[in-house]
Symmetry: C2
Subunit: 355 residues, 2 copies
């Protein structure tokens, strides 16, 4: 078997920045987006990093995204704000929102910042983790960029996978970080199964008769199932109301299918909330307590056949370590798409190892 | 079949207040707790209203709860606070926390108020709904009052059913309100099945070998399953870190089994966050948008055999309407326990209809 093609995070970041600059993003903005997108790949969010670049480029070239947005706080209090993303790249909007929320949290214990007229911003974990890197607690909510889930009992996709990420900084154990879609499987996993020609497990999707749908090629006929049945439906709805409706962003039938439509304004909504532990307890003792709980979970008695108890965020940390050492693997199909686009845009192709 | 015994909410409230006053709560506090507890029963939270009274009384009489607490804000910013509940009734602590969060939200867009040294406070919905009644968005998180869930892959109960409630006020449709445990079934449902001698469905619990456990009499040998497998485990953990650890409250192995232990300080943690829609968007338009989304959900195409699409909170609203008209039904076993306790404490028994 041939070694997979791998790139370094630095080279991936260089490539993404060059490509975005080639379609009109100012150099600083292109670099900012590229840094976050490369982080997504470095930490294993394979469906939310460079995998999305062809789609971003298509939308930008179709005029569906503003490459020179005026991103600004539209309403603001000492502890809250709503950002108008002016239809810019979601990464830029949410980086700004997160920086503002961190500033407010440091000054007032909490910063709750929403955004509208934004776009797809990559994995939820990125923004919650920016808060944790600053020693704070981060909570990120978003309306997903396409409706793939029906209300419980329905087959009509009126909801998205609306994700939530929560990051809590520990000490020895690093950050405990949950990043989850409210569906059993994220839609990216369905796309991945389709790309690989693999059947999906029962429980991911149902068809219009409510029967299990396992052929990813038929995904358009079906709907993703929520976690915990009606509970996950409820959670997706409430996240949509908080991250979409409350921020004046699209929700329900207003959500544009970002995968299929390159020109309609998406008006994507997100929220980042940041909390300063020092406003609630002794901030040092807090980190030790988080460690104590992780210790307890890891040492918990295991079911037969289970080799270890995992804590949310562990896999992400391990992947980051592995990929920082051995590079980020890129599937052949994605690489050839990126090579073709690079040639079109006159950008040096991704340089890496393996084939 | 004989008609079930039913009481009015007013009579239930009178009874609970008398009982709590009889064990030492000041009259005003007893009435305050009774109002919230009767609301729980009126709105169908049967496992979290008067059903809990015998247990509360037992703990109070055992000296495990402070009937004259000094409930006060311990740390406070313009938008956040932590309340020290001084081991008082959780209802009093969380009513105070919610009032403070509402005040802060009105002044600063958001109020995020945590509590420690609190106790069981009834259903999560109560406090989120207080915010919605004030025209605001409410989010409630709590560490459950006993550990019944193991980390994913384990059998050791280090986590509770840690619930979340989110309430969003609409207009015509009233409040959209999600109140869910992060386990497939709340532990109250297990107790109810045991009381009724019914088997539990597969998927609620597993035993120490990871096999489905369906006999509620064996519940102590097993662990509740989280919604969505590892996702619900992660969600329960993060809610615990936010509502417990961040507030300086018990979490993990520190959580006292409130059902089995009447004297050890529980140090229960909760959080209420309140958001003022006016800080984020046009508050009137917001309510109309919530209605539009509910309209869309209710009109969504249905799967075969589904008669209607439900929206979170609908069942609660219907139950409130029904019970306000026809009374709150009380199971015979609970009624006889309450009658016995009333006689002991010299309180007039619950007066109602039916037998």
């Amino acid at each position: 078997m041939k070694a997979a093609f791998t790139v370094t995070a630095a080279e991936l970041q260089r490539f993404i920045a060059d490509m975005l600059a080639a379609v009109g993003l100012p150099a600083g903005d292109a670099a900012g987006v590229a840094e976050l997108m490369a982080q997504a790949d470095l930490t294993g969010a394979d469906g939310h990093g460079v995998f999305r670049l062809p789609q971003y480029l298509r939308r930008i070239r179709a005029g569906g995204l503003n490459v020179t947005p005026n991103i600004r706080a539209e309403r603001e209090t000492s502890a809250s704000a709503v950002i108008d993303g002016d239809n810019g790249m979601g990464h830029l909007v949410m980086r700004r929102a997160t920086e503002l929320a961190i500033e407010k949290a440091r000054a007032h214990g909490i910063g709750w910042v929403g955004a509208h007229h934004s776009n797809h911003a990559g994995p939820a974990a990125l923004y919650a983790d920016l808060a944790a890197d600053a020693g704070l607690v981060g909570i990120y909510l978003a309306v997903g960029s396409a409706n793939h889930m029906a209300p419980w009992g329905s087959i009509e996709p009126l909801l998205s996978t609306n994700p939530i990420a929560i990051a809590v900084p520990g000490r020895r154990h690093g950050t405990v970080l949950l990043d989850m879609a409210t569906t059993v499987a994220a839609y990216g996993k369905v796309k991945l199964a389709a790309q690989r020609g693999q059947a999906m497990p029962e429980g991911w999707m149902i068809d219009s008769q409510g029967q299990p749908l396992t052929d990813p090629a038929r995904a358009k006929e079906g709907t993703l199932l929520p976690i915990g049945g009606y509970k996950g439906y409820g959670l997706s709805l409430m996240i949509g109301l908080l991250a979409g409706t409350l921020n004046g962003a699209a929700m329900g039938s207003q959500v544009v299918d970002f995968n299929a439509d390159d020109t309609t304004l998406t008006n994507t909504g997100h929220t980042i909330a940041v909390l300063d532990p020092a406003a609630f307890c002794d901030a040092d003792a807090f980190r030790d307590e988080v460690d104590r709980i992780v210790d307890e979970l890891q040492a918990a008695a295991r079911l037969p056949g289970v080799d270890r108890i995992r804590v949310p965020g562990e896999g992400r940390t391990e992947t980051r370590r592995e990929r920082a050492a051995s590079g980020i693997p890129l599937p052949a199909e994605l690489r050839s798409t990126l090579d073709r686009l690079a040639a079109e845009l006159g950008v040096p192709p991704l340089a890496g190892q393996g084939c």
